[in-house]
């Protein structure tokens, strides 16, 4: 019955006219659960003409003939601790019902302890800013991990890979599969390693069975971009299909005792994320600078034909880029999952931020994504000092627009030549 939300209201599936709705409770992390037992009254010019109660899926249906009505929620039927999101509007008036029309209405509820999102009091501005900055750095490091692959793939093949977010999700969900008690029950550390390998393999499969054959038959870059978008949708919804829509957590390192560092409190998990990210990123940077493979990568990114004629196996380099890029994205996904929980579309959420980070740093460069990501992470987190949290990603778009206006090649990129 939850499927009702997915269909347009005028699907014409029901013949009875009346009011319907799916009532959910939103918790502190934005998760919605159905609310059972909420009562609604329908009135016509002041007199009661119908009432109904939500079922286990949070759905209710009150049949009324065609006409104009008001519908109100029975406050007493809302459990303790749960509140209406709009407490001033427990009733909607002047709603028309036509013959055969089943009209959907919304009355969202907020869970225990969840309050309006803007303006948390308590901590002083400096403390909040510091905490946000630390969160921003953590987030930035995670974005950096995920987007290196994106930048390198673009550099070596010219493909803007819109399906890159799904590699992140594969890593996070893979670790969940290995880790959760319903899955394999392996400790998260080992599960993470397995997940990274899984994501790396996914990257390799991508290249070997999809992109390389497409390059061979001469498919243009724009067509490949559209294909990557199709792949992104396909991948995302398959993951949703398999994993369900709820946010989940890993078995270990979930709730930890915070400790104080100066004015802010942190958990050990934060430090681990920072540490692991920095170490990995430094290793990757060194590898790209110093190793033969790294140099080959840069050569292919710079000029593919020239690299090929100097004896570099371009296909092999590209495959390496995909495997490493995939593995890094998967690792980023696990860290992201540790930091904010695991969801089927977490990678897609991150995709826009990755693009902002990579564009800021310079598409195709090696160090670009790192600096771009840190700036993006810091900026959007600190922006919540002035804007509500659910809009913080807007900051990333602003960065994107400004950079494109002022310096489209990014901080580290080269200006392009024409002709």
């Amino acid at each position: 019955m939850a499927g009702l939300f997915l269909f347009p209201a005028s699907a014409g599936a029901q013949d009875d006219s009346g009011f319907t709705g799916t009532i959910t409770v939103t918790d502190g992390e934005g998760e919605k659960t159905p609310a059972e037992g909420i009562r609604f009254f329908v009135e016509d010019a002041g007199s009661l003409v119908g009432e109904g109660v939500t079922d286990a899926d949070g759905v209710f249906f009150i049949p009324v003939p065609a006409g104009t009505y008001s519908i109100a929620v029975d406050i007493d039927s809302i459990p303790e601790g749960i509140t209406l999101r709009n407490p001033d509007r427990p009733q909607l008036d002047d709603l028309d019902i036509n013959d055969g029309q089943s009209r959907n209405v919304l009355f969202p509820l907020l869970g225990e302890g969840v309050v309006s999102t803007v303006g948390a009091g308590g901590d002083g501005l400096a403390t909040r800013a510091l905490r946000l900055a630390i969160d921003g750095i953590i987030f930035g490091l995670i974005i950096a991990m995920c987007s290196i692959g994106l930048s390198l793939i673009f550099g070596t093949t010219g493909l803007t890979n819109f399906a890159h977010g799904e590699l992140v999700t594969v890593g996070a969900l893979g670790a969940l599969l290995f880790n959760s008690t319903g899955g394999f029950g392996i400790h998260i550390v080992l599960a993470a390693i397995l997940a990274v390998l899984l994501a790396a393999a996914a990257g390799g499969v991508n290249e070997k069975f999809l992109w390389r054959p497409l390059r061979r038959r001469g498919t243009g870059l724009i067509a490949m971009l559209v294909i990557s978008i199709g792949l992104s949708i396909l991948g995302r919804y398959v993951l949703l299909y398999l994993a369900g829509g709820n946010r989940q957590k890993y078995e270990q390192f979930g709730t930890q005792t915070p400790f104080e560092i100066g004015p802010v409190s942190m958990v050990p998990r934060d430090l681990w994320i920072i540490g692991l990210s920095v170490v990995t990123l430094v290793l990757v940077a060194l590898a790209v600078q110093r190793t033969k493979t790294g140099k080959a990568m840069r050569a292919v990114a710079d000029n593919r034909d020239l690299a090929e004629s100097s004896g570099i196996d371009v296909d092999r380099v590209i495959l390496t880029v995909w495997v490493i890029g995939g593995g890094l994205a998967g690792f980023g996904g696990v860290l992201f999952g540790l930091n904010q929980g695991i969801r089927w579309d977490m990678g897609f959420e991150l995709l826009l931020l990755m693009f902002a980070a990579v564009t800021l740093g310079g598409l195709g460069t090696a160090y670009g994504p790192l600096f771009g990501s840190l700036i993006v992470g810091l900026f959007i987190n600190l922006s919540t000092l002035v804007v509500p949290p659910e809009v913080k990603n807007v900051g990333a778009l602003l960065i994107l627009v400004v950079i494109l206006l002022v310096r489209p090649q990014g901080l580290f990129g080269q200006r392009e030549r024409i002709g």
């Binding site: 080269q414 030549r417 024409i418 002709g419």
Partner: protein
């Protein structure tokens, strides 16, 4: 022009790099363009004489195409100013420069393959009423103009012997035919100065003569032509004047004869250490 005759307009013009011309249509000053550490163009002073054909030659990487890009607004220089027909066109975008009468073609022909030949030609006409968004809806506002354009296009197609390909997609044309199309299309803009980037590249020898004839006819119509070429026979055949670039700068100017004997030009093409005769002595070949 044969090797001996020099176009009379150049009487008294000094065959040195950056020399002044009696009636310059394009004048460039201190134009530089750097890419990272590399200086692609560094032209101190250059004047192009009106109404003649000037050949622009030089080894690969000399900066000729980059110079074209800069003059026509397809690239922005680091420094420099230049005037076209008395107007400072330095800061103008490419399409405005074209509208002012300085039109260029491209090294890799840009025949618009997915348009028909006749549509390619009609595209070339400038200031079309029908190209404005709101007027486009009302056919009556532009249909007469369109007919006139079509007539002009057909005349040019006739002149360039492309009439039989009129309805075909430009993508089906041969390489040489595309060169002709690009030149004909550029003529639709009624340019004062037409800059041809390697017009003979990739064209079979049979077609070259025909193209040369067309280039000369442009001059005879009163237009100015600047063209980049590598084929010295072509340069000798049609240039009234030659400008030599190397490593971004203009190193020599003059008639074809004077260029051929110019030491700086020889150096640029062959490298400097040539005062020793090239020696292919058999004895030196094998290891001792």
């Amino acid at each position: 022009m044969s090797e001996q005759e020099l176009n009379p307009v150049f009487e008294g013009v000094s065959p040195t790099a950056g020399s002044a011309k009696p009636d310059a249509i394009l004048t460039a000053d201190k134009v530089t363009r750097r890419f990272g550490g590399l200086t692609a163009v560094n032209v101190d002073h250059l004047e192009i004489q009106r109404g003649v054909i000037t050949g622009l030659i030089g080894p690969n990487g000399a900066g000729k195409t980059t110079f074209f890009n800069l003059m026509t607004g397809f690239d922005t220089p680091d420094e420099g100013t230049w005037n076209f027909d008395g107007i400072d066109v330095g800061k103008l975008p490419a399409h405005v420069v074209a509208r002012k009468g300085m039109v260029r073609t491209f090294q890799l022909t840009k025949a618009l393959s997915r348009l028909s030949v006749i549509d390619n030609m009609k595209l070339g006409a400038m200031q079309q009423t029908g190209e404005s968004f709101f007027k486009a809806f009302v056919k009556g506002l532009w249909s007469a103009e369109e007919k006139a354009i079509e007539q002009r296009a057909d005349e040019l197609l006739e002149r360039f012997k492309l009439t039989h390909m009129r309805e075909e997609f430009a993508g089906t044309l041969s390489g040489g035919q595309r060169k002709l199309l690009e030149m004909a299309r550029a003529l639709m803009t009624d340019p004062k100065l037409i800059m041809l980037d390697e017009p003979m590249a990739g064209v079979n020898p049979a077609l070259t003569q025909s193209l040369l004839g067309h280039v000369k006819s442009l001059r005879d119509e009163g237009r100015t032509v600047v063209f980049v070429e590598h084929d010295m026979d072509v340069v000798r055949d049609i240039s009234d004047w030659v400008v030599v670039m190397a490593e971004g700068s203009v190193i020599a100017e003059g008639s074809h004869a004077s260029i051929g004997a110019n030491q700086a030009v020889i150096d640029a093409y062959l490298g400097t250490s040539h005062d020793q005769a090239l020696d292919f002595n058999e004895e030196d070949g094998e290891d001792a």
